[in-house]
């Protein structure tokens, strides 16, 4: 096995009673892009953390250039040329871009002087390299998520890393930024850098990767050349079974208009002049690039950043929403994008998470009813097939997909009239993804008006009855179901679609 840049042999790692890795072996050659696939909880993150020295393996060997590395710490890993771009940008929110890059790259000893000019120039150069227009002086907390991602990438490139790990780097990037990233990745490959690429978007893997390794339940299922594989085969490897119909078909005709927006604007969120109708039993997909204002629109509807002009109508009645509380009272539900921070409360039991939005109705006189709560939770656990040890298990003990189901259950319990979903399957593994799709579809079937934001084009196209495309804070076009992907994309980019 010579010529391997990185070689992991029978690596194991346990957390408490959970065996996250059960003897995984993995290899990476110089100049290749090696995709790592697996459902959430399959052990990808743990494997990455072991390679970057954030976790210590319980047993197993790590070799770089054929030499045993011994125990890795984040610092040693960095010195060996390992860089990682995490899903959630790992940056210091209070410090400037230049300093973030500098801290990540400097190998300086503690008492050395910080050369601020050099840092600024370095940051400027690295950012320019990847075509990002970000001031090195800017504080990280003032940047948007994709901008932060770009800073991360600049960091990794600046480190002159020989092994670059990308953990879902495109999850929040725009199309343009994604293309840029791919170009950079290919360029790095040419220079002999080995890359480990993690993504749930299978099409990206086919575009980019050379080999792919699939993890399942902490074990490596196999490594294959990408050109020998197809999507179905990969999915089968990942979930260990066939996933026949990914998107459940619509079986019902939409009813009356339930929810409409008229010239709806929210200056703070950059949303302007949005008009939209959602009918009972209908799923309206909200497509667009990141930064087009989709999440901001959802937040304005839900009252987190209340709208400052325009009308919101529910069943033809004008409603005013100034806070999430108002929204809940009116029967509007919102499953937010950031599941771990906003969707569920990780430390709290599943049952308590599920009744969180229905305190007033479910607990009359503010008295808690523990028995009723437990029954409600058991019902949802059964109906949504949530994998949990019981209603008292904390949400943090669940996998991402199951957490998302808990977040959904919270709003189903509220029996809303309108459901707004923001990236409902982001970071959710393939198995849970299709289950969530089925749940959404059955909700619509029962007469709910659903507005679904997604950056996953196949999802938008597969799920929606109509597709609203947003650009620069407003809805620019309304496309029918089963539109072609390139039509949607063109609309999102602001180009005239072919044939129109």
């Amino acid at each position: 096995m010579s010529g391997e840049l990185l070689q992991l042999t029978s690596v194991t790692k346990s957390f408490g009673a959970v065996r996250a890795l059960k003897g995984v072996s993995f290899s990476l050659k110089a100049g290749e892009i090696h995709a790592l696939l697996g459902e959430n909880g399959a052990g990808k993150s743990t494997l990455i953390k072991i390679i970057t020295g954030a976790h210590q393996p319980d047993s197993g060997r790590i070799e770089i250039d054929g030499r045993d590395t011994g125990a890795l710490s984040p610092r040693i890993a960095r010195e060996l040329g390992i860089a990682c771009i995490y899903q959630q940008p790992a940056l210091f929110p209070d410090l400037s871009v230049a300093e973030n890059i500098g801290l990540r790259l400097s190998q300086a000893n503690v008492f050395s002087r910080v050369d601020w000019n050099a840092r600024r120039q370095q940051a400027h150069r690295l950012l320019e390299n990847i075509g990002a227009e970000i001031s090195p002086e800017a504080e990280i907390r003032s940047l948007s998520m994709p901008q932060q991602q770009l800073v991360e990438i600049a960091c990794a490139l600046g480190a002159g890393a020989r092994i670059v790990i990308m953990d879902e780097p495109t999850a929040s990037l725009t199309q343009k930024e994604t293309h840029l990233l791919f170009a950079i990745a290919r360029e790095l490959r040419k220079r002999g850098v080995g890359m480990i690429y993690i993504s749930h978007r299978l099409e990206e893997i086919f575009q980019l990767a050379d080999r792919v390794t699939v993890l399942r339940d902490g074990e490596s299922i196999g490594t294959n050349r990408v050109d020998e594989m197809n999507e179905a085969a990969l999915i089968k490897l990942m979930v260990g079974r066939d996933v026949s119909a990914i998107y459940p078909p619509a079986e019902n005709e939409p009813g009356e208009t339930v929810f409409s927006l008229k010239n709806f604007s929210c200056e703070r969120g950059g949303v302007r002049d949005v008009s939209l109708d959602v009918r009972a039993g209908e799923i309206v997909g909200l497509a667009g690039l990141v930064g087009a204002g989709r999440t901001e629109l959802a937040r304005a509807i839900f009252g987190i950043t209340p709208a400052d002009s325009g009308e919101m109508l529910l069943n033809g009645q004008r409603i005013e929403i100034h806070s999430p509380r108002d929204a809940v009272a009116q029967g509007i539900a919102y499953v937010p994008e950031d599941r771990r921070r906003h969707g569920v409360i990780l430390e709290m039991p599943i049952a308590q998470n599920m009744t969180m939005a229905i305190h007033r109705r479910f607990f009359p006189g503010t008295w808690l009813r523990f028995g009723a709560e437990k029954n409600l939770a058991l019902e949802f656990i059964r109906d949504l097939s949530i994998k949990a040890s019981g209603p008292d298990a904390p949400a943090s003990s669940l996998s991402g997909g199951n957490q998302q189901k808990v977040a959904l259950a919270r709003w189903l319990a509220a029996k809303p009239k309108v459901l707004v979903l923001d990236e409902p399957t982001q970071g959710v593994d393939v198995g849970a993804k299709s289950e969530i799709h089925r749940i959404i579809r059955s909700l619509a079937k029962n007469g709910l008006a659903v507005l679904m934001i997604s950056s996953d084009l196949p999802e938008i196209i597969g799920m929606s009855d109509r597709i609203a495309v947003m650009r620069s804070g407003t809805i620019t076009s309304m496309l029918p179901a089963k539109s072609e992907a390139h039509t949607v994309m063109a609309a999102a980019l602001g180009q005239k679609a072919a044939g129109e």
């Binding site: 970057t52 954030a54 710490s73 984040p74 610092r75 960095r78 990682c84 995490y86 790992a90 940056l91 210091f92 929110p93 209070d94 410090l95 300093e99 801290l103 990540r104 400097s106 300086a108 000893n109 503690v110 008492f111 050395s112 002087r113 910080v114 601020w116």
Partner: protein
């Protein structure tokens, strides 16, 4: 400019106060009392520098007053045993560092919340000292006061010493990797760990650092009089934390700088004497201090 809003606004408030004094009570500016005031303030300044580091690292230390008392008494007893002054200074700083290290060990090593740990050590050290010493003053031998210098040069030594420490630490926080590591850890400890900065070690060392600075401050206080009061340092933690916060260091860590702390401390230190000079009754002092703290945070809150 926006970035330094807080420092500038506090400087503005200080300037206003100084102007008011210049107009209504010019006697405030007579040189000797001013020097005494400065020598006195230099003690708090040294502790405030340490506190700023602790708060930037997203921790807090409310045991500084008690540590200060313990260090003062230890220093006094050592000096009374006729140790050479240099040895007394070194030993006191070491004692401070050990006490700081105890806090740091519990906070960094066991991961306990610093506010609770230092609340516990504050009570324990204070009461323990009272139990052992029963409030007796320690009389110092000749040659300790003002380091054996004249009063004036002694006071200048203290003021300049404190300013040197301030400047050195401000430079360290801005221009040395060590200082930036503290900001990094305070901004996000987990990210710091991933970037190869050891957050636990950093927090531990910051506590050792404030301990050592408290030891030094105890010496600086001791040499200003021929006796050591074992009650000294009572309430110091509130004064110093208030100065740090008024000076624009965010209690949530990672933000602020020592120049702001310097100005904040000056403002709070000047309020007491200013009240006397402006003939305001003493019973307004606490209320005015409270209002200053509230105004500082409210200004920040409104700006956001």
């Amino acid at each position: 400019m926006r970035k330094y809003f807080r420092e500038l606004s506090v400087t503005g408030a200080l300037t206003l106060l100084l102007l008011a004094l210049a107009i209504f009570a010019p006697s405030f500016y007579s040189p000797q009392p001013l020097l005494s005031l400065a020598a006195n303030a230099s003690v708090s300044l040294v502790v405030a520098c340490g506190m700023a580091l602790v708060i930037i690292a997203r921790e807090i230390d409310i045991s500084v007053g008690s540590m200060f008392a313990v260090c003062s008494v230890c220093a006094g007893l050592l000096a009374a045993m006729h140790w050479p002054l240099a040895a007394v200074i070194a030993a006191t700083i070491l004692i401070g560092a050990i006490f700081g290290g105890f806090n740091g060990g519990l906070v960094a090593g066991l991961g306990l919340p610093s506010i609770v740990v230092t609340l516990a050590t504050m009570v324990t050290w204070r009461e323990g000292l009272q139990w052992l010493r029963q409030g007796q003053f320690v009389n110092l031998p000749d040659g300790v006061q003002w380091f054996g210098l004249s009063q004036k040069s002694g006071q200048w030594t203290l003021v300049i010493g404190a300013l040197v420490i301030l400047v050195l630490m401000a430079l360290m926080m801005k221009h040395l990797s060590a200082g930036r590591y503290i900001y990094a850890v305070g901004s996000d400890a987990e990210v710091a760990r991933l970037a190869g900065i050891p957050p636990k070690l950093t927090v531990f060392l910051v506590f050792v650092g404030i301990g050592a600075l408290v030891g030094l401050a105890a010496i600086m206080n001791m040499v200003q009089s021929p006796q050591v009061d074992p009650q000294s340092g009572t309430g110091m933690e509130l004064k110093v934390i208030a100065a740090v916060v008024v000076g624009g260091v965010a209690i949530s860590g990672g933000r602020g700088n020592l120049w702001g702390v310097f100005v904040g401390l000056l403002l709070l230190v000047c309020v007491g004497p200013a009240l006397i000079h402006l003939h305001i009754e003493a019973y307004w002092e606490k209320a005015i201090q409270g209002v200053i703290i509230l105004l500082a945070v409210v200004a920040e809150g409104l700006r956001r």
